[in-house]
């Protein structure tokens, strides 16, 4: 079965890129049609359009893109003229640092909180967690981000408001940059954790409640197993199943970055690159990002399925 899935890998990625390319072209405008400035001449824009090959039919443009991709060339940005791969890769470290640490913190908090909240259903603890989740889900990230900046940076002057690594440490070795990086990471990390955490705790709580009412839990208790064992071994393993799905789908999100958080905190990640590319209609960058994320979408689903089989033997049959 895994073999069949692997065979499907290429056609799937290709199909996603094809659809993405045409949808992208459906959006009005192109890199030259976003200027509205009386100092510019429509003739110049037409010439640029011709130079970039934008006057050719869309399927031909897609074909050229695809051909170059098979040669390992993702093309050049229309805006900067730089290789797409360079522009994507230089954004990767900042993106991964933020998304991976956020994912790690979210999982680290979700499991115990969701589990305990479900176990102590309707207790003060559960109500507290529920209240927190609802508030967390309802607060818009940009507001949370600004509040964090106002409090921690402007008011108390504890942490830097924005940026990534202190420019003064530009040439220093990584271990010297690390403290600066970490202090810049705290606020964006909190901002991105709050929203994700709240939703996931609710999800986890519900699935654990469902599991705790099942017969095998009753059976485990009847066999005289300790509550700890019931909760952290029997229930935990089953509650992990749906989370695998979530993690599988979260994989592409890891590289696509979080635009709002990056924007507010001037974090030099992929989200900013992608959104800027959308507004400037920088097709090569958009397709490069699309290629990366479609590979990760397919890969994420595949990995989730494999993990399912490892965790839950029933699925193998």
């Amino acid at each position: 079965m895994i073999l069949r899935r692997l065979l499907l890998f290429f056609p799937l990625v290709l199909g996603m890129c094809l659809v993405a390319f045409f949808i992208m072209k459906l959006a009005p405008g192109d890199p030259t049609l976003i200027f509205f400035d009386p100092h510019l001449s429509p003739k110049d824009l037409e010439l640029i359009r011709h130079n970039l090959g934008l006057d050719r039919p869309v399927y031909i443009q897609f074909f050229y893109w695809l051909k170059e991709v098979f040669h390992g060339n993702l093309g050049y940005s229309y805006v900067t003229g730089r290789p797409v791969l360079d522009m994507i890769l230089e954004r990767m470290p900042a993106t991964l640092i933020l998304t991976l640490s956020s994912l790690f913190v979210v999982l680290f908090l979700t499991f115990p909180l969701g589990l305990l909240s479900a176990y102590k259903k309707n207790s003060w603890f559960d109500h507290g967690v529920t209240l927190f989740s609802f508030i967390g889900v309802s607060l818009p990230t940009f507001w949370v981000g600004l509040m964090l900046i106002l409090l921690f940076s402007l008011h108390w002057d504890l942490l830097p408001a924005s940026g990534y690594i202190d420019p003064a440490l530009g040439d220093a070795p990584f271990w010297q940059q690390l403290p600066s990086l970490l202090s810049h990471l705290v606020l964006p990390l909190i901002a991105s954790v709050i929203g994700d955490l709240a939703g996931l705790i609710r999800f986890n709580r519900f699935s654990v409640i469902g599991i705790l009412s099942q017969d095998f839990i009753k059976a485990a208790r009847a066999r005289g197993l300790s509550e700890k064992r019931v909760l952290f071994v029997h229930a935990f393993k089953n509650a992990a199943l749906p989370l695998i799905t979530i993690l599988g789908t979260a994989l592409p999100g890891l590289i696509s970055g979080a635009f709002v958080v990056e924007y507010i905190f001037s974090w030099p990640g992929m989200g900013q690159l992608g959104v800027a590319a959308v507004f400037s209609r920088d097709y090569p960058i958009l397709m490069g990002l699309m290629l990366f994320s479609s590979i990760l979408i397919v890969l994420g689903n595949l990995l989730a399925d494999v993990c399912y089989m490892l965790v839950d033997p029933r699925i193998k049959q």
């Binding site: 400035d37 110049d44 003229g81 420019p167």
Partner: protein, 501 residues
């Protein structure tokens, strides 16, 4: 505060640090410190020599001769010569270069001929006199010895530029910062050792950065302005930019074809109220298609030719054949209600609010206005559609203007439907004057021509000229040596800027 580093904010990642290619304000802000043009603009918006120590214009207005200064060197130590100037303009005129500036140097259908007479003299030959040309020689000059034979669109130079300006490029970390360092062999040596541009996209974060002294300068939104009136270490500056905001009528629209209807709408809009409520008083009403900062502005026009006057407005609509239907409380002509859609672009709160206030004022007259706020590209698709008539009724927009008063691209009938004459304005008299204004080389005569153009256009009322918005900038008080507040910015003479402890 570090007195050797001037930290400034960039609102976005620069695209390319090459004056031939760049189109975004972030790139241009940085380029301004790295590159020099033949001429430059001083604080009073007058032309003064830069790379050229002087220039002459032949009596027939067709030949411009520039004499370069001999002490200008590139950041790699090589001298700046006339060959570099010739190369720069050849590069712009090359059809393979993806530049939006090509047409600036094609006058009367013919590319300008640029010739190096000797190492330090260069001439521009035009095939007809064209006064707006002089300002266009302020274009940043790029080094021939680095860029020759390279594909400029993809050149590594665009990310590590070499210029001749007071600052040389040091480092650019994507999405983080751009670092420049004073160039000691510059003919205008800078006093502050470094400039660090921090890329901070969010306006609120940038405001916090200003208050934290993370950056030493930054824009202030109008509603925040009062908080900076007596700030302990931030000085507030206010000045006008060369721009105006307007509401444009599609002149091919069945209602707006009629001058009386356009005038009626103009009479119904209270511009002072827009300035007070939308701009919080940081602006002033406009009534001519030009910025009052320009030398060509007709100062003799003191009052709005179409002032706020609702009674006049009602009378004009009546004359135009619109009758108020008492049942629906709406204006009708030949049994059809007077309705139209007013479009503007998303992301500009001031324009959105302006649209709402205008819609409300017109509703009181019985005109139903639907406001549509559109994403930029979708918006442009309507406004710049190359069709006659264009698929919109009325639009709220702004023009940022050149230092030269020529506005052929906005008002000449040949710029419609393709071009920036988006409303379809056509007045043979104005066409003739626009052409005459470009041909005329005498500034006093040009002033008379452009005054005439402004008054004629205002009379035809193709736009309701709304207001001139004011820029509000906060500057850390440690910053000294700023230039006079104005469209040229506060850092027009970057070499004079120092930071006190």
């Amino acid at each position: 505060l570090d007195s050797s580093t001037l930290t400034l904010r960039l609102g976005g990642e620069p695209s390319v640090l090459n004056p031939v290619l760049s189109t975004d304000t972030s790139s241009q802000a940085v380029e301004g410190q790295i590159f020099n043009g033949l001429i430059r603009i001083n604080d009073d918006l007058q032309i003064e020599p830069d790379l050229a120590e002087k220039y002459t214009i032949s009596p027939d207005g067709k030949t411009y001769t520039f004499f370069l200064r001999k002490d200008a060197v590139w950041h790699d130590g090589k001298p700046v010569t006339a060959e570099d100037v010739v190369f720069t303009f050849a590069l712009i005129l090359d059809p393979h270069t993806n530049t939006v500036r090509r047409s600036n140097y094609v006058i009367g259908g013919k590319p300008v001929k640029v010739t190096a007479i000797d190492a330090h003299t260069v001439t521009f030959e035009l095939n007809r006199p064209y006064s707006p040309f002089l300002l266009r020689t302020g274009m940043g000059i790029v080094p021939k010895h680095i860029l020759q034979g390279k594909d400029v669109n993809k050149a590594a130079f665009n990310r590590a530029p070499i210029g001749s300006g007071p600052y040389r490029f040091v480092k650019w970390e994507s999405g983080q910062h751009v670092l420049l360092e004073a160039f000691d062999k510059s003919y205008t040596p800078a006093k502050t050792k470094r400039i660090l541009y921090k890329i901070i996209p969010d306006e609120n974060t940038a405001l916090v950065a200003l208050k934290n002294q993370d950056v030493l300068m930054g824009g202030i939104p109008p509603q925040e302005a009062p908080f900076f009136d007596h700030h302990e270490f931030i000085q507030k500056y206010q000045y006008y930019d060369l721009m105006y905001i307007y509401m444009g009528f599609n002149l091919k629209n069945e209602h707006f074809k009629d001058l009386k209807v356009r005038q009626a709408i103009a009479h119904a809009i209270q511009k002072e109220a827009l300035v007070t409520s939308v701009l919080k008083g940081h602006g002033k009403p406009a009534f001519l298609p030009m910025s009052p900062l320009l030398w060509a502005y007709p100062q003799e026009v003191k009052t709005d030719p179409i002032p706020f006057d609702v009674e006049k407005s009602k009378a004009l609509l009546k004359e135009a054949g619109y009758i108020l239907n008492p049942k629906t409380n709406s204006l009708e002509k030949n049994g059809k209600p007077f309705t139209f859609t007013l479009i503007t672009n998303k992301g500009n709160k001031e324009r959105e609010k302006t649209a709402e206030i205008i819609a409300r004022s017109l509703e009181l007259l019985g005109i139903k206005v639907t406001i549509q706020v559109m994403e930029w590209s979708s918006f442009l698709k309507l406004v710049t559609a190359p069709t006659d008539p264009k698929p919109f009724d009325a639009v709220i927009l702004g023009w940022s203007l050149d230092l030269d008063p020529d506005s052929t691209s906005i008002w000449h009938s040949a710029e419609y439907p393709k071009g920036f004459n988006v409303v379809g304005y056509s007045n043979p008299e104005v066409d003739r004057l626009l052409e005459a204004g470009c041909r005329e080389t005498d500034q006093a005569k040009r002033k008379a021509i452009y005054g005439d153009i402004c008054i004629k256009i205002a009379k035809d009322c193709p736009y309701v000229f709304l207001y001139y918005p004011e820029s509000i900038v906060g500057v850390n008080k440690a910053l000294k040596g700023l230039s006079k507040p104005g469209p040229a910015g506060l850092l027009n003479r970057i070499e004079h800027v120092t930071i006190s402890q």
